[in-house]
């Protein structure tokens, strides 16, 4: 019996792993182990097996490749794959190795060590450990995690909540999906640590509707964790539930997410009060991104000092990038903060897809700024991006090629923001729609030079007067497109 490892995550399946499993299922002499994915999606479907010389991998496998794999010919040692070798895997260390729903494997690969450490510590000591790690929220806002926990801890209430924001709406990002599908116990562990630190007895994972496999895996993992007696907080059973949404990008904003969790329209609420003081049902609530919780367990296991030894002065630890678009090697990259965007693209992106040339790079999802080739020297850390008026967001990097029509791309962003604006504040609701109309007028050849000034003016109003970051960031992709590729816009205006 030859044991073959094949990832079972959504993207690997879509790349062909589902088909391989279907065809090979009935084959005698092989045992298929369905693992998480390593994140090197350009190699998927990737099949691995243990050989005397270590774990070997076969890339872009088709059903007909089986004899070669069984003969042990043509494989590459996994630890020699350059895309993976150059990374510093912390949160994603076990990806591609373990079976997502095996608690034993999770434990055998270092899982639950953070929780065990936390259970020997006081809530104050846990928060102190997070403070020392200098972890900042990974959802996009980059707020110091310990501070939020401290506020929730110190706010008196009969009930407190832990909520994982799994509404990963930023196009170009999927690391939360990978955590939920690939190592769900890691998220659960992080939430349990948080529950202990703030004194919560109920947790929710708000998972977007577009991630059915993630919700399914999480529910199964919660049941297993419960059966193993893990769901404990302060001597009580922690109630942990997966709640699935119904679309809407803005629901990823924390106050909108809580509204949605209570079953109402997912509309942004003015802050303060912040959820850490008054959140779900008016009680202190920690809302954090999946990746943040997933990082917490390793910090508790290995210490805040260790985590903060990586990265730059104000961006500690590792950054999880998801490189996509027209590059040769799209996939997930975890490295310490501090490399430049150009280095990350060069070391991991592997150059452009055949026949295409790099034109622009967008970082941080659909509200992120566009960078032309001349601006790729920017350092990947919160400070450098803030200084450039850009965002790292959730680590999405999308590379556009020379065939991209920047006016059409700008219009695409405004269609998105006009459709997804929650409508609560006027600058965003009206501004996004007017921006779209102006761009459509320019595309139709009826635009004037004044229209570009009007777009800039509208953008300034949206930036300064919108209620939340959605309206505040919406103008950036459009304005950076005009800033760096203005000729394409001016060509169409009189």
């Amino acid at each position: 019996m030859v044991r073959l490892y094949l990832p079972n995550d959504t993207s690997s399946r879509a790349a062909g792993a589902a088909r391989l499993a279907e065809v090979w299922q009935e084959r005698t002499g092989i045992e298929l182990i369905r693992t998480s994915a390593r994140g090197a999606f350009f190699l998927e479907p990737m099949v691995e097996r243990d050989m005397p010389e270590g774990r070997m991998a076969w890339f872009n496998v088709t059903p007909d490749d089986l004899p070669q794999i069984l003969a042990g010919k043509g494989g590459t040692p996994v630890n020699e794959i350059p895309f993976l070798r150059g990374q510093t895997r912390v949160t994603f260390a076990n990806f591609g190795v373990t079976q997502p729903l095996s608690l034993d494997e999770y434990r055998a690969h270092g899982g639950l060590k953070g929780l065990e450490a936390a259970r020997t510590q006081s809530p104050e000591a846990i928060i102190e450990e997070i403070r020392i790690s200098r972890l900042r929220g990974r959802g996009g806002a980059a707020f110091p995690v310990w501070h939020k926990w401290q506020v929730a801890r110190e706010t008196e209430a009969d009930r407190k909540y832990v909520v994982a924001n799994a509404d990963e709406g930023d196009a170009g990002t999927y690391c939360d999906r990978m955590v939920m599908e690939g190592e769900p116990f890691r998220l659960i562990e992080g939430m349990l640590i948080c529950a202990r630190a703030i004194g919560a007895d109920t947790g929710y994972i708000y998972c977007r509707q577009e991630y059915p496999a993630a919700a399914h895996t999480l529910r199964a993992a919660i049941q297993k964790a419960d059966e193993a007696g893990l769901l404990q907080s302060h001597g009580h059973r922690l109630r942990l539930e997966v709640v699935v949404g119904a679309g809407s990008y803005v629901v990823g904003e924390e106050t909108a997410l809580l509204e949605s969790l209570e079953g109402r329209r997912g509309v942004v609420q003015a802050r303060p009060p912040y959820p850490a003081e008054a959140g779900l049902h008016g009680k202190p609530t920690i809302v954090s991104n999946v990746l943040t919780f997933a990082t917490v367990s390793t910090i508790l296991a290995r210490g805040g000092e260790w985590y903060s030894s990586m990265g730059t002065e104000r961006s500690r630890g590792t950054v999880v990038l998801q490189i996509g678009g027209r590059v040769k090697q799209p996939g997930l990259v975890e490295i310490p903060f501090g490399a430049t965007l150009a280095e990350a693209l060069e070391r991991f992106g592997g150059g452009m897809a055949p026949g295409s040339r790099l034109k622009a790079v967008q970082v941080g999802g659909p509200l992120g700024s566009l960078f032309p080739v001349s601006k790729l020297g920017i350092q990947i850390c919160y400070d450098a991006f803030a200084k450039a008026g850009a965002i790292l967001g959730h680590g999405g990097i999308v590379v556009f090629d020379h065939e991209t029509d920047m006016v059409e791309l700008a219009r695409h962003y405004t269609v998105f923001t006009a459709e997804e604006s929650c409508g609560k504040c006027t600058p965003c609701r009206v501004g996004s729609l007017r921006s779209r109309e102006i761009l459509e007028r320019i595309q139709a050849g009826r635009g004037t030079a004044d229209d570009l000034a009007l777009l800039a003016d509208l953008g300034e109003t949206m930036k300064t007067a919108s209620l939340c970051a959605f309206g505040g960031r919406a103008p950036y992709p459009v304005l950076t497109a005009i800033e760096h590729f203005g000729e394409e816009f001016r060509r169409l205006t009189k």
């Binding site: 790349a15 999606f41 949404g245 809407s248 799209p330 967008q362 999802g365 999405g396």
Partner: protein, 156 residues
């Protein structure tokens, strides 16, 4: 509405009823109704509102807010094309054009005979193997326009 659906609605509403002192969850109720009926027709808004002890405006407000709550039945197969930026960068507009040509409908429309409904979606997190087309629950990655016809054939 036929008798069978009416019974299911009642059952669903009964299941979603909130306990004393609890707030009703309109969104989760509507998702449960959609699960049972395939969509949430406008003519059941009143019954849902009464069941949850909220106003019809509360229910209609939630119903109209979320893109995945449907007030009309979609075709037998729901085709969604991802319009996330990674798909856009990989020229999903060309795949969309092919889908439109093959189906002869635009985004948001259903083919005559009710076989296919074409919709767009903003990112399903399949960015690394984009462009992505989703038919019902099945995801297809690395789509190129020339594959569209044979893909659709599997559902005809």
């Amino acid at each position: 509405m036929d008798g069978k659906s009416a019974v299911s609605l009642e059952v669903v509403l009964d299941r979603c009823r909130h306990g004393p002192g609890q707030q009703p969850n309109i969104l989760q109720t509507l998702l449960a109704v959609q699960e049972a009926l395939g969509h949430v027709p406008f003519n059941v808004v009143g019954e849902i509102a009464r069941g949850l002890e909220v106003t019809e405006a509360d229910v209609a407000g939630v119903l109209s807010y979320y893109p995945d709550l449907r007030t009309h039945l979609s075709g037998r197969h729901l085709i969604r094309i991802c319009m996330g930026e990674s798909c856009v960068a990989n020229h999903c507009s060309r795949v969309l054009r092919e889908l439109r040509d093959q189906l002869r409908v635009d985004v948001g429309e259903t083919t005559p005979g009710n076989r296919f409904t074409l919709e767009k979606v903003y990112c399903v997190g399949n960015c690394a193997v984009s462009p992505t087309v989703i038919i019902d629950d099945e995801l297809y990655g690395r789509m190129i326009p020339s594959q569209v016809a044979s893909l659709l054939d599997q559902y005809r």
